[in-house]
C-alpha cells in the first residue's frame, strides 16, 4: 500500500525541529519526508516517474513522528495485571507471579501476548523488546498481528526458559530467520538467578556470534548487594569480567549502578533500559538517569511487564523518566523533555538493533504514529516535544503504523483483529489459572 500523509506536522527525530509538510509511504518504507509542494517535482527528485496512492490522508495539522520503542517488557504477563498489587515484592513474586507462571503454556502465552499488542498500539508503541517463556508463540502472536518484536533469552538454566545453551543457540538461529518483523538476542534472566557456569556459557556464546547480551541488571538494592557478597563485586563488574559485554548489549532497570559500573557502560557502549513505572510500583528506587546522560550512555525506556506496572503506556513512562530524575536530583531542570523523546525513539532503536526504525527519513521502515493535536491537553501549541512528554496521553494516539500497515486508527483496531475474542480468551486463561 502507498500512503500520502499531507497537511502534517512532522517530528522526524533526526532533529527536533517541526517540519510542516508531507510524508509518503511506499510498501513498508518511507519514500519521502519534506515540505511537499509539486508532486511531479518530488517524484523527479526521487527518481520515480509517478506514484499511485492507495490512500491520501489529511493529517489536519496533526503530528507524525517515529513510533515508540518499548525496550523492555514481558508481554504475556497481561494475565497478572491488577491481580496482585500493593504487596511487598517478595510476596508478590513468590506467592503470586511464580505459582501462576508455572501453569502457563505456549498457547496461553500466544493469546496473552496478543492482548499486550493491542495495548502497545493504543500507546503508539511500534516495537518491543520482550523476554518471556516460549518465544516461538510470542513471535507468532507478534508477526500475525504485525508488531515489530525483538526477543531476548531469559534463561536461568531452569525449565521454562531455555534450560540449556544448546536450546538458546537453536533459537538464536531459527528465531532470527523467522520474519523481517522479528529478531532474537542472546540474554539471561539476571545474575542472581544464574550460576557462574551458566553466565560463562552465555558469554562464550556472545563471543562465538560477536553478539550483544541483555539481562535484568541491578533492579533492586538487595540483589546488587547480594552479588557483592557472592562475588566481591557488582553485577555489572562481574559480568564484564566474564567478557559478557565484549560485543555490546546492556541492562534492564539499572537502578543501582555505581560509578565503576557506569564507566563500564560508557566504555563498552552498553545501553541502560530504564523502567520507571515498574521501579516505582515495586518500590525498587529511582535510577540515576542524569548521571547516565552525563556520561553519554545510551538510555532507552521500557514499560516492563503488565504485572509490575500495570499498563503498557509510553506516555506515563516518559513523564516518569524526567519527573523522577527531577525528584532524585532535586532539580526541576534535570533531564530535558527532548532527551526523553530521544530515549523513547532513537535510543530504543539503537538498543534493540533496529536502525531502520529510529527516525522518519527516506528509506527507513514506516513505523509511524500520528499524535492528535486537536485535543485540549495538546493546546495551546507552545512546544510540541515538551507537550508530548509532559502532557501526552494514549488518548492522543490517532494512528499507529508498523511496517507500512495501519494497525490502529481513530480508536479502532484494524479489522484483521478480533478484539473481543482476544479479551475473552485472556479472561478465560485467567480463570483457568485459578
Amino acid at each position: 500500500m502507498n500512503y500520502r500523509f499531507y497537511n502534517a506536522k512532522i517530528l522526524t527525530m533526526e532533529t527536533t525541529d517541526i517540519i510542516e509538510g508531507e510524508l509518503w509511504v511506499q510498501g513498508d518504507q518511507i519514500l519521502y519526508v519534506g515540505k511537499g509542494g509539486d508532486a511531479a517535482a518530488i517524484c523527479q527528485s526521487l527518481s520515480i516517474e509517478s506514484i499511485l496512492w492507495d490512500r491520501e490522508i489529511d493529517c489536519e495539522g496533526n503530528l507524525l513522528m517515529p513510533g515508540f520503542k518499548n525496550a523492555h517488557t514481558h508481554s504475556a504477563m497481561t494475565f497478572l495485571r491488577s491481580r496482585a498489587d500493593d504487596l511487598p515484592l517478595s510476596e508478590w513474586l513468590n506467592n503470586q507471579v511464580f505459582p501462576m507462571e508455572a501453569k502457563l503454556d505456549g498457547e496461553m502465552i500466544y493469546h496473552l501476548t496478543k492482548l499486550a499488542v493491542l495495548e502497545y498500539l493504543t500507546s503508539g508503541i511500534t516495537s518491543i523488546f520482550d523476554m518471556y517463556l516460549t518465544p516461538e508463540t510470542t513471535a507468532r502472536a507478534c508477526v500475525e498481528m504485525g508488531m515489530r518484536c525483538v526477543q531476548v533469552s531469559g534463561t536461568s538454566g531452569q525449565e521454562g526458559f531455555e534450560a540449556s545453551l544448546a536450546h538458546m543457540e537453536e533459537r538464536y538461529q531459527t528465531l532470527n530467520q523467522l520474519d523481517p518483523l522479528h529478531s532474537y538476542f542472546i540474554g539471561f534472566h539476571a545474575e542472581y538467578t544464574c550460576s557462574k557456569a551458566l553466565l560463562e556459557q552465555v558469554a562464550a556464546m556472545a563471543h562465538k556470534y560477536k553478539a550483544p547480551v541483555f539481562t535484568h541488571l541491578s533492579e533492586t538494592k538487595s540483589e546488587t548487594e547480594g552479588c557483592r557478597e557472592r562475588y566481591g563485586m557488582s553485577p555489572t563488574k562481574l559480568l564484564d569480567s566474564l567478557g559478557m559485554f565484549d560485543y555490546g548489549g546492556g541492562g534492564y532497570h539499572c537502578v543501582w549502578l555505581d560509578e565503576e559500573d557506569m564507566e563500564i557502560f560508557r566504555k563498552k557502549g552498553l545501553s541502560v533500559v530504564t523502567n520507571p513505572g515498574s521501579n516505582t510500583k515495586l518500590a525498587s528506587g529511582i535510577a540515576p538517569i542524569s548521571a547516565y546522560l552525563k556520561r553519554g550512555i545510551n538510555v532507552a525506556i521500557g514499560t516492563d511487564g503488565p504485572a509490575s506496572n500495570n499498563c503498557l503506556d509510553m506516555f506515563r513512562e516518559m513523564f516518569l523518566v524526567t519527573g523522577l530524575a527531577k525528584l532524585r536530583e532535586q532539580d526541576a531542570a534535570a533531564v530535558d523533555a527532548l532527551e526523553v523523546l530521544k530515549m523513547a525513539t532513537v535510543n530504543g532503536a539503537k538498543a534493540m538493533n533496529l536502525p531502520d526504525t529510529d527516525v522518519l527519513a527516506k528509506g527507513k521502515q514506516a513505523d509511524i504514529i500520528m499524535i492528535d493535536l486537536h485535543q485540549p491537553n495538546m493546546q495551546p501549541i507552545n512546544n510540541i516535544p515538551k507537550n508530548l512528554v509532559y502532557s501526552g496521553s494514549k488518548q492522543n494516539v490517532k494512528m499507529t503504523m508498523i511496517q507500512g500497515k495501519i494497525l490502529y486508527e481513530n480508536g479502532q483496531f484494524t479489522k484483521a483483529y478480533d478484539v473481543e475474542e482476544i479479551y475473552r480468551k485472556a479472561n478465560e486463561i485467567v480463570t483457568s489459572l485459578g
Copy 2:
C-alpha cells in the same frame, strides 16, 4: 433529561464492591442505583408511578463511577503549558510565570479556563477546586460549560487577586449565590506571600462566617524553613495559632508537614490536597501520604495548574499518589489503590464541601463517569479498582456527566461547545502575551 443506564458495572464508592445493574438519572439527580430488573417494581419502590426516558444507554458492561474531584488547580494557566519547562523553580516563577500573568485580563482568563474545562472532561473530572485571578470570569466559563467549580481566594494583599479583605468578602457573598454549580471559599495564596496582618484578617473573616480556609501550604522545603526563620514555627502551626483553621479547611501540596503539623491537621479535621505531578515536575519533593493516612487525615488529590504539571489528568495523579508513596516508604504495599480511588472521589468532595457529589446513590447529584472496560489496558478484568489506579488512562473515559448533563461521550464534546474556537482563542491569547 431522564437517563437509564443499563447493563452496567457500578462502583458507587459507598463500598468498593462492584454492582452489576442499572443507574437512573432524573434531571440533575440520581434516582436509582441497583441491580435493575422489573421497572414497575423499581418505580413502586421509589414511590413514583412511572418514568419516561429521554435516553436509555446500554453500557455494554462498562463501569459507572462518581466523577473525579480535582481538589487543586489553576485552570487558566493553560496559557503556560509547555512554555517554560525544565527550568529551575525560581527562574520558572520569576522569569516566566509572573511576567506573563501580569498581562492577563479577565476575558483571557475566561477563554483559557474553557480550554482547561475541555481537558477535565476528557479525564473524567466533574468538579474542580480553583484558585486564580478574576474568579468572576472563571465562574462564567465553568457555569456556561456546565463544570462544577469551587473557587478559593488566592489573595496576598496585592493587586490581581483580592487586594483587600472587603473585596474577598464581597466575592464571598456574590460568588456563593451565583449558580448551583458554583461556590467560593475563603483562602489566601500562601504564608510566604502574605503579611501577618493580612493572615489575621483572613482568620477573622473565617471566624465571622464560621468557614473553612484553604491555602498553598508547605509546598517546598525552603518556604517551610523560611517560615520557621520568620516566625519560629512551621506554617501550619503559625496559621493555627492565628485561629485560621478553627472552622476547618486545609492545605494544597503539604509536602513538608512535620509530626506536629499532622497532629494539627488531625485534631482540626483539615484536608491535605496532594499534587504529586506538580511536586514531581518542580522537584518539590514527595508528600508523606502514608503518614497522613495513618492519622486518619482526609487526603484529596489535585492536578495543580497546567503550567506546573503540565496536564490535567487524574489518572496520572492517582498512579503517582501511590507510586511515589511506595518509593518514599520503600514499600510496594504502601497506599493501597482503593485508598487512592477514595481520595480522587469521596475525599475530594469532602474537602470541597460537595457532599452531594461524593458517591453514586439515590438523591446525589448526577456527576457520573463511564469507564471503557473494552480497552486492552482494562483487560483481563481481575480487579477493577486496582486497574483504574494502576492502568487507567484518559483513553478509558467513555462519558462524563455533570449535574445530569452529558458533556463528553465517545471522544466527542457536547455540541454546545465550539472546541476549535476555544483552541484558536487560547493560541491567540498566547501570541498576544508575547
